[in-house]
Structures are given as structure tokens and as C-alpha cells.
């Protein structure tokens, strides 16, 4: 996807809209405290004891892409490419904004792609080309 400076501004605004209005801006500071380093290193999925508000319970069936993602990830495990612990670690490594910003299975498929790239099983340009191919096919189907 081509990113013009206007689009970049929009993307940045979308991401910053997700952050609290009153916050300590971090812009690669020269020094941070050990306490802040501990906090920044926190494993994101370790939420036990963290204060939170009630979440409404909704019945949501799995969509095709979600089940396909699940099966793809399981098959990658079956064929010895990775394991579920590595998947969880990679999800945490996305960082808070993407971890909490992406739908559950979008997190899975994002880190699965990164694992395949890391292991040299696919290249980012092959992946990009495939995404473009699928996008074109779907757009043609819709029009």
C-alpha cells in the first residue's frame, strides 16, 4: 500500500486516537528508570490481578478466515514450523497497540506470517504479491 504523507498523518492520528489523552509521551528518551524498563518489558498477556471493567458477553461465531487462520497455525505446528508457546510470545512481541488493536485471529495470522519470514520459508515480497493478488481477485468479484 502506497503511503503518502497525508495518509501517514491519518494513520498516526488513528493510532494516537487509541491512546489516553493524558499520557507521558515517549519518544526514544536518552534514559529511562529501571522501573519504567520493567513496566515496558511486561508480558502483555499476563493480566491476572490487573484492574479492568466488565466486558459485555456476546455470542460470536467464527468466520471462515478465523477458522482458516486457526487451522493454518495448527498445521504449521504439526509440521514442526513452530509451537503455540512461540505464537504467544510473538503475539506479546507485537507491542500493546497492535496486541490490543488487532482482532484475536488477526494477531495469530500476523505472527504466523512473521514466523515464516523469520525462518526463510517465505519472503516478504512473495507475501505482498499474494496479498495483492487476493485483493485484486476480491475487488473484481465485488464490482
Amino acid at each position: 500500500m502506497a503511503t503518502t504523507s497525508t495518509q501517514y498523518d491519518q494513520l498516526q492520528r488513528q493510532a494516537s486516537n487509541l491512546s489516553p489523552a493524558d499520557r507521558l509521551p515517549l519518544d526514544s528518551p536518552y534514559e529511562i528508570s529501571n522501573e519504567l524498563y520493567d513496566a515496558l518489558r511486561k508480558v502483555l498477556h499476563d493480566v491476572g490481578g490487573q484492574p479492568d471493567t466488565p466486558v459485555p458477553f456476546t455470542e460470536k461465531g467464527e468466520e471462515d478466515w478465523e477458522m482458516n487462520t486457526y487451522l493454518t497455525c495448527e498445521c504449521l505446528g504439526w509440521r514442526g514450523v513452530w509451537n503455540s508457546e512461540e505464537r504467544r510470545r510473538r503475539e506479546n512481541d507485537l507491542g500493546a497497540t497492535q496486541y490490543f488493536g488487532l482482532p484475536y485471529y488477526a494477531r495469530w495470522i500476523t505472527v504466523a506470517a512473521k514466523a515464516l519470514v523469520d525462518r526463510g520459508l517465505i519472503t516478504t515480497d512473495e507475501l505482498g504479491q499474494k496479498i495483492d493478488e487476493v485483493r485484486t481477485r476480491l475487488e473484481r468479484k465485488r464490482s
Binding site: 518489558r41 508480558v43 491476572g48 490481578g49 504467544r88
Partner: protein, 103 residues
């Protein structure tokens, strides 16, 4: 599945180490430094912190334990019953005999 001789027996009092972790762990923050009782042995498996980086069959194995904590120990403002407990799984490297480490 590998058979390993576990260091702790069912009934032993153990304290979860409050150690620095780099990059990833499965040991929940709320159990760190807390003391509980071993209630079950679980099959030995890869050290989770190694497994998280893609180490599989050839990696270091460790015994796992189910440890039972009193809820009133874990949460200072717990409002439930005194007898309430919480069980979670810990790998051996995270446990030490109760009373050994700094609490």
C-alpha cells in the same frame, strides 16, 4: 514424553521465585514471591521460556507442578471465603522450597 525425577513432592510448600524475566514467561506476576502447596505432578515438558523461542524436542526439559495458593494470600483485599484457593502450573525452575528466598 520424558520421565524426570521431580525435585518437589505433592504436599511440599514452595515459593515462586520473584526473578527477572527477559522477553517472555508463563509464570504469572501475581504468583511471584507467593507460597503455595504442590498438589499434582504434571508431565515433563520443554522449558516454556525456551519453547517460546522455537526450541522444541531437542530443548531442555523440566518437571511441571500444579501449585495451590490461598486466595487470601494472593490478593490482600480478597473479599471471598477464607478457604478459597487458586491452582496454577509452574515449571521447576520457578519454584524453591518455602522460606528460602526473600519474600
Amino acid at each position: 514424553m520424558k520421565t524426570m525425577t521431580p525435585r518437589f513432592q505433592v504436599g511440599d510448600r514452595v515459593t515462586v521465585r520473584d526473578a527477572t524475566t527477559m522477553f517472555h514467561t508463563r509464570t504469572q506476576g501475581f504468583t511471584r514471591g507467593q507460597t503455595g502447596t504442590v498438589v499434582e505432578h504434571r508431565p515433563a515438558w520443554i522449558v516454556p521460556e525456551d519453547e517460546a523461542f522455537g526450541i522444541m524436542e531437542n530443548g531442555r526439559y523440566t518437571p511441571f507442578y500444579v501449585v495451590r495458593f490461598k486466595q487470601t494470600d494472593l490478593w490482600p483485599d480478597y473479599t471471598g471465603f477464607e478457604v478459597d484457593t487458586l491452582e496454577t502450573e509452574c515449571s521447576e525452575m520457578w519454584l524453591e522450597p518455602a522460606g528460602k528466598g526473600k519474600k
